[in-house]
Amino acid sequence: MGEKPSGLVQGTLDMLILKTLALEPMHGYGIGLRLEQISGGVFQVNAGSLFPAFRRLERAGWIKPEWRATENNRRAKYYVLTEHGRKKLKSETREWETQTAAIARILAASPGEL
């Protein structure tokens, strides 16, 4: 139960949430669970990080809330990716790929190259 998502590079949580929602609309717990499952347990994201991120993304207009009924007849807040969010995810992903590729090249460099 750390203050920050364990082992998560700062600022990437938003991108990961967007990606999760790109697959299907989900509620809060589901998103956290899905992140943990897909990452094979590497990322454990607690409520203290998830909910502020939801509020942040909602305010930015990248996700929007949708109230649905759950199986046991309660109202649950699902999050849906908006058109803006989809675009944002695309650009973030591209950015991420260029950055990681660059970092990988630097880390893989042999002494002679440096």
Partner: protein, 884 residues
């Protein structure tokens, strides 16, 4: 786009708070449910699952707080909380709040009022677009600003130039309006047909001039200003098409201008008339007749236009060497032309003075905040102990000081509004009547409020928030700490220094004003009434007719009961009217053109000197024998005689001049000689503070003019004679208006009014500053005595005498005033340098002014410190020690 979403989301959170909170709660509960369910599926019991899920989620309140902090509304909310808390705290201390708010109201209100005058004068707006691209063409010589251009020159410039869209003529003059109950004077502008096109102004009703309507041959038409329409013609809805008798001629009103067309040179006339109807319009290349104004073509710079005009000027100088000798052209934009140098400097100085006053008020408020902060240490310590960060406390304290400064600013704005509204007409500065409180004044006031709040609040806030809650809670209010005392002393020293600057400035202005009053203007104006008039040239075309009017009027007025004597002068001293002319002296070698000597010039009728009370030193006055056909005569002033014939008798000497240089009359360009028959005392013609300047008096009988100032000496107070004198004028010509009716005392007073207002304002700022800083010093010392009562008690118990305790407190006061005095004198020296141009007859570094300003502050501060010192010396050791 995200910005908008964030804003709207924040608004929703603020205004539908319960709903948003409820949703967040529900969401968290759902999250917990899901987690429990998940864990039970994984094989935990319900209790185990619940416990694990709760552990995982942590404190739901913390999560909620983190979620709320994502939006801007949480900041808005905490600011709002601070404001509400601040309002409660201020309400709990009404006395404190009242003192602080009043201090700031005075400080900010005075600033806003002075700034609104600065705003109107220095940041003047013009009622036509791009005024900086509207230029005056000037033909400057060594002695002449060259604003007037002869009509033939204007025609040549207009035809040959390539850099202006159009050039136009303009000249304003008094115009007689007749046909009503009494003849009236209105201000007229004589303009070319394209004048309004050059300014890009359209009529609000009707039209402006059509092409060709500025010609003599055209049907006479007039365009009326909105102000004249509403004030003089009572807003007559049928004014368009009506005929007005102006200068004895009938004009048809074709247009009324929009209300905003006013206040600048080009836009302050009552009526706009065709250029060729101007009494000054002569087709003589030697006669500078009218102003020439033009609007630059798009993309043409000032420099390019100047080069263009200078080329034409060279051609003209080649073709007409006599008319154009020693001249060069200059182009001056409307704002440059109207930049009111004489008003700008005093206004900026007043603004500086009033800012210093505000600074002192800030320091006073800061001191009060600090003192009250000491009393609030417990409260601040409790807040701090409960988890408020230092930033939180600083924000809270700053919010409170900003709150009082904003309240002070709101009240100050009302005060400024009242000041401007009630004094706008009284100000002797050139402040346009619309010195209103516009958005610039509001913006200025707002910035002053924020500045005040931060300046007054920041140091106390930083100081008070820096503490250890544990010690603060246990030791109570007794020990304020050494650093707090030092800050407090700093405030008081700064206040004293600033107050000394203002006091020195005030003393300098008082001395300067006294020197100004001591100037003898060269005449004595007790019981002398003056009024101006201008004869319509079409009714009085010849010099003989003009002279006959002047003479007949003086005769009629002199017979009014109560009148001692009457005369006419063309340019009354210090009235704002004056003229200068070149001349030659036949008894010495011919000067080259452009290098001729010049002197001030005016026309008078016989008996002028006795009427105005200016002594004739030698020779004789003009008499009725100096008629139009008699030999030409002049009277010169003493400084004229001394300059050109030092140590010799000027009577009988001759001067040579051109008639048109004396007075602009048609066909009056003959070269003449006149004999000096008298020497008069020097008078201050243009400004009271000028050195004596040579002046030549010509007799109206020999060089008549259409303009005159009637001067009447009465046996008693002359103001009661106004109606009788006017009737006497109308008995000569029932259609001749007179205006600017005032006594010579009023004329003189107008000269010193700006200086007097400055003196009063800065002196009252200085006294206010003195009072504030004395209060500051008193507060500091009595605070320090109160806090050290026990220390004093112990000292006295150990053998200190009351005298030594008294000395001990006074020593503190001396230290404060010494440092404050040094800083104040240093600051005063800097400030006085900026005042140099505003002072008359007193050096900026005047020793008595500095000693006086310093001594006043020091004495007042020491007197104020005597009370706490005496209180300290009367401390009863038994009482203070037992009290513990």
């Amino acid at each position: 786009m995200p910005g908008l979403w964030r804003f709207l989301g924040g608004l929703r959170a603020l205004f539908r708070k319960a709903q948003v909170e409820h949703e967040l709660n529900e969401e968290l509960l759902d999250y917990l449910d899901q987690a429990v369910e998940q864990k039970m599926q994984a094989g935990m019991t319900r209790e185990q699952a619940l416990r694990a899920a709760r552990l995982e989620m942590g404190n739901p309140e913390v999560v909620k707080e983190q979620v709320r902090d994502q939006g801007w509304e949480s900041i808005a909310e905490s600011v709002w909380r601070d404001v509400r808390y601040g309002v409660r705290m201020l309400g709990r201390n009404p006395g404190f709040t009242l003192v602080v708010v009043l201090t700031l109201t005075l400080g900010i209100g005075a600033n806003s009022a002075i700034f609104s005058a600065v705003n109107a004068v220095l940041l003047k707006r013009y009622p036509f677009p791009q005024a900086d691209r509207v230029l005056f063409l000037r033909q400057v010589t060594a002695t002449n600003p060259g604003l007037l251009i002869s009509i033939p020159n204007f025609e040549d410039y207009r035809r040959q130039q390539n850099s202006f869209r159009q050039l136009t003529l303009w000249r304003s003059a008094s115009v007689n309006l007749t046909g009503g109950d009494h003849p009236e004077r209105v201000v007229g502008s004589f303009v070319s047909d394209n004048f309004f096109d050059v300014l890009r102004v359209k009529a609000a009703q009707g039209r402006t001039f059509l092409p060709g309507e500025d010609k003599r041959s055209a049907e006479p038409v007039v365009v009326v200003s909105h102000q004249a329409w509403t004030m003089r013609f009572g807003g007559d809805p049928n004014l368009l098409g009506r005929r007005l008798m102006l200068n004895n001629e009938s004009y048809t009103v074709v247009g009324i201008l929009p209300p905003e067309f006013r206040a600048s040179w080009l836009s302050s006339s009552d009526v706009y008339l065709p250029a060729e109807h101007s009494p000054a319009y002569h087709l003589d290349r030697n006669d500078p007749a009218m102003f020439v104004v033009g609007r630059l073509k798009d993309g043409i710079t000032h420099q390019q236009a100047l080069a263009d005009i200078a080329t034409i000027e060279l051609r003209l100088a080649h073709d007409y060497p006599d008319a154009m000798s020693g001249m060069h052209v200059e182009l001056t934009s409307v704002p440059e032309m109207e930049a009111s140098e004489s008003s700008a400097k005093p206004l900026l100085m007043l603004l500086a003075a009033v800012l210093i006053l505000l600074l002192i008020a800030c320091l006073n408020v800061a001191t009060l905040l600090l003192a009250r902060g000491s009393a609030r240490r417990q409260e601040l310590a409790v807040r701090s102990a409960l988890g408020a960060s230092r930033a939180c406390l600083v924000r809270q304290l700053l919010t409170e000081s900003l709150l009082v400064s904003v309240i002070g600013a709101a009240l100050g704005l009302l005060l400024a509004f009242w000041l401007v509204w009630s004094f706008a007409d009284l100000t002797p500065f050139d402040v346009p009547a619309q010195a209103a409180l516009d958005w610039r004044v509001l913006l200025f006031t707002l910035s002053v409020a924020v500045f005040t709040g931060v300046v007054a609040g920041i140091l106390p806030a930083l100081r008070l928030s820096r503490m250890n809650p544990a010690t603060a809670l246990t030791t109570g209010t007794r020990t304020a700490g050494h650093a707090g005392h030092r800050l407090h002393s700093g405030f008081v020293v700064a206040q004293m220094a600033l107050a000394i600057i203002l006091l020195v400035g005030a003393t300098l202005l008082v001395k300067s004003f006294r020197a100004l009053l001591a100037i003898h203007p060269g005449f004595s104006g007790e019981q002398v009434l003056t009024m101006e008039y201008r004869l319509p040239r079409n009714k009085y075309p010849s010099g003989v007719e003009q002279w006959n009017f002047h003479r007949a009027m003086v005769e009629h007025v002199a017979q009014v009961p109560g009148v001692v004597s009457a005369a006419v002068v063309q340019a009354l001293p210090l009235s704002g009217n004056w003229g200068e002319m070149p001349f030659t002296l036949p008894d010495r070698p011919q000067a080259r053109p452009g290098e001729k000597p010049t002197a001030l010039v005016t026309l008078i009728t016989p008996d002028y000197f006795s009427t105005i009370g200016s002594p004739l030193l030698r020779g004789r006055d003009f008499t009725e024998h100096d008629g139009p056909e008699a030999p030409r005569v002049v009277i010169v002033t003493r400084s004229f005689a001394q300059k050109f014939w030092p140590g010799q008798d000027p009577i009988g000497r001759e001067i040579q001049f051109q008639d048109s240089d004396v007075v602009s009359n048609e066909g009056a360009n003959q070269i003449r000689r006149a004999t000096i028959v008298g020497v008069a005392a020097d008078v201050k013609q243009v400004h009271l503070r000028d050195p004596d300047r040579p002046l030549i008096y010509f007799p109206y009988s020999q060089t008549p003019a259409i303009f005159g100032t009637l001067v009447v000496r009465a046996a008693a107070d002359p103001t009661g004679l106004t109606d009788a004198i006017r009737r006497a004028v109308w008995s000569v010509d029932k259609d001749q208006p007179v205006w600017r009716i005032r006594t010579v005392a009023m004329v003189l007073d107008e000269q010193v009014a700006p200086d007097r207002l400055m003196m009063w304002l800065v002196s009252s700022f200085g006294l206010l500053a003195l009072a504030l800083s004395v209060l500051g010093a008193y507060g500091l010392l009595s605070n320090s005595v109160n806090q050290r009562k026990q220390e004093i008690g112990v000292r006295m118990a150990l053998g200190a005498t009351p005298g030594s305790v008294l000395q001990w407190v006074l020593k503190q006061a001396v230290r404060l005033t010494f440092v404050g005095g040094l800083l104040g004198i240093a600051g005063g020296l800097v400030a006085a340098r900026f005042m140099a141009g505003l002072l008359y007859g007193v050096a900026p570094a005047d020793v008595t002014a500095f000693v006086l300003g310093w001594a006043l502050m020091t004495l007042a501060a020491l007197l104020a410190s005597y009370l706490p010192a005496r209180r300290a010396s009367r401390v009863d050791p038994m009482v203070t020690l037992r009290y513990e």
